[in-house]
């Protein structure tokens, strides 16, 4: 069990601001946030690479805040594929075991087993530079896992891989770390899909703070704040500054928004959030097409309404010419409402939002 309390850092481009959390062993925690949200800073602070101004780190009730880096029982896989260039793949993975005091034969045997697990059994004597990017990152992963450390941290490990390799490693990742049942696994990413797919628990960071945490599906369905909704939505969620008047929801003056099934708050300003799947072709709302992007099996269309901008996503590759007008419908069951302070105030007739 890893407990962090009020972690705060200073004197860096990104700072941590009072981060507290309790991590349990055997679980994968995905830390989601945009660039500069403080994800890497959190891992580096845990590792002891960045100094804390305030806060404590406890591993199984033992305070390790002041422990030297090498004695923290943690492993870190960097976003860049960092390996020891002067050592063979086998010696790279055996390196931490040798530092633990294991003899060369035992260390190499364990390293060989781990490399076989990650699919590099036939490249033991190669240098890291002689491997592809994906293979180099597997070496880094094998080196981090072979130590069986209590905390395994992966800092956007797939970010520098090409699409295919990313998909492949993402699929394999749960299997690769399955043996680390004693470890807390922290996995940072900027991609909501990756965070939701890999994490037992998802932690959302923004501006150096943890702004939300919970089961990925719950967080996606009911983001507690506007910032959380923004971070976990891909393609991006659209926010329109509207208002409620006389129990009706308006995008802007004269533009009534659909609100069937929504329990509207008292009169006043609200932020109306539209996920891309809340908008569909054909309907009563007229918009101009700003941009049309093909994204694999889907098409993302940027729409300019009279009351603001929003993004629509349709299945398949559809041709939408920029500049043309289009009529769309907006599904009220996919609308979310946020108060001016950013809190989620979506209430539906049959459930709480």
């Amino acid at each position: 069990m890893l407990q962090i309390d009020h972690l705060t850092t200073a004197a860096a481009k990104v700072t941590l601001d009072d981060v507290s959390f309790l991590f349990e062993a055997g679980k994968i925690y995905t830390i989601l946030g945009r660039t500069g949200a403080g994800k890497t800073e959190l891992l580096r602070a845990l590792m002891g690479l960045n100094p804390l101004t305030v806060g404590t780190i406890k591993l199984d009730e033992e305070d390790i805040t002041e422990r030297p880096i090498r004695a923290r029982n943690m492993s870190l896989v960097y976003q860049q594929f960092i390996n020891y260039p002067h050592l063979s793949v086998l010696d790279n993975v055996a390196f931490p075991l040798r530092r633990q005091g294991k003899d060369k034969v035992e260390a190499q045997a364990l390293a060989g087993q781990m490399l076989t697990t990650v699919g590099l059994g036939e490249f033991l004597q190669r240098r890291p530079a002689q491997l592809s990017g994906g293979q180099q990152q597997r070496v880094a992963l094998a080196r981090a896992m072979v130590k069986q450390s209590r905390i395994l941290m992966l800092d956007e490990p797939l970010a520098n891989l090409d699409y295919k390799l990313r998909e492949q490693l993402r699929e394999e990742f749960p299997r690769l770390v399955a043996d680390n049942v004693e470890s807390v696994i922290l996995y940072t990413t900027t991609e909501p899909r990756e965070a939701m797919e890999l994490g037992n628990t998802m932690i959302v960071m923004h501006g150096g703070r943890v702004i939300a945490s919970g089961a990925p599906a719950d967080l996606f369905a009911h983001p507690p704040t506007k910032d959380t909704a923004s971070v976990i939505s891909d393609p991006p969620i659209s926010f329109i500054s509207g208002f409620v008047r006389n129990n009706s929801l308006y995008f802007s003056e004269g533009h009534l928004a659909p609100s069937i099934g929504l329990l509207l708050p008292a009169d006043g300003p609200v932020t109306i959030a539209l996920r891309p799947d809340a908008i569909e072709p054909d309907g009563a709302f007229n918009a101009q097409i700003g941009l049309s992007e093909f994204s694999g099996s889907q098409t993302i269309i940027h729409l300019d309404f009279d009351f603001g901008r929003a993004i629509m996503m349709v299945d398949g590759i559809e041709a939408f010419a920029a500049g043309n007008d289009i009529n769309v419908s907006i599904r009220s069951e996919h609308i979310m409402l946020f108060a001016p302070d950013g809190g989620n105030i979506t209430l539906r007739n049959n459930q709480n939002g």
Partner: protein, 281 residues
Amino acid sequence: MNKFYHTLKTIFLLGWSIFVVFPFLWALSTSFKDANAITSGATYIPWVDFEPSTQGWTSLFTTGSQGINIIGPFIDSAAVTLIASLVSLILGTLAAYGLSRFEYRLGFVKNSDITFFFISQRIMPPIVLAIPFFLMLKELGALDTIFGLVLVYIALLLPIAVWVMTDFFSGIPKELDEMAMTDGCSPIGAFFRVVLPNSLPGLVVAGMFCLIFGWNDFFFAFTLTFTETQLLPVSIVSLNSSVTPWWSLSAFALISVAPLACVAVIVERYMSRGTMSGAIR
């Protein structure tokens, strides 16, 4: 068009090679001449243009009026250069690692200022340094000694080592040290086990520069020695009397160049940064 450029390139490189190699060939040819061959006009090819003589070479290993024994100066030069280069390389590497990895702040003085301070030692004209060096060695009783020259050469070579190694360490990602520490190394362990083995090309370049500057220095070797200690460059000059023995001078020049040429050939393959590829992508 390509053929034209290829021909042009070949001609240029051929011309440049002749320009570079000719002085050595000339020195080699001259080292086998005697006084008659020297004074009878420009001649180049032994047995054809002149009768070869080994007088130039034998005079370097005899003492007295017939020549000068260069074995002593050669050993002195080698000792001073090797010891000073080694110490400079060790101290310079440690200093450079510190400068590239840690932030120092002493009032307004920062890392870049400290690095510049080291380099500034080489910017000053040697004559400015000669008098203080002379006085300091006199106080230490180290004038005209190998020890004194080693001290001075360390002061002269250290900036070169710091400069080259700081630049080299800056190219090695800090994450490599961090990773070594997360893998169980102490900071000093990370340096010796990971950073240093990956710094071989930088060490070779810095070592080469130290050897070249140390071996070729004449000015300090001349001003800080008298009779007890004599380095190779000073010995060469002392050959020059009322009659310049060009044959001995040429042989001497070739001998003094030989060690550096051998070192350059041996370490040439290390003088690239190739080994860092793959450390980080």
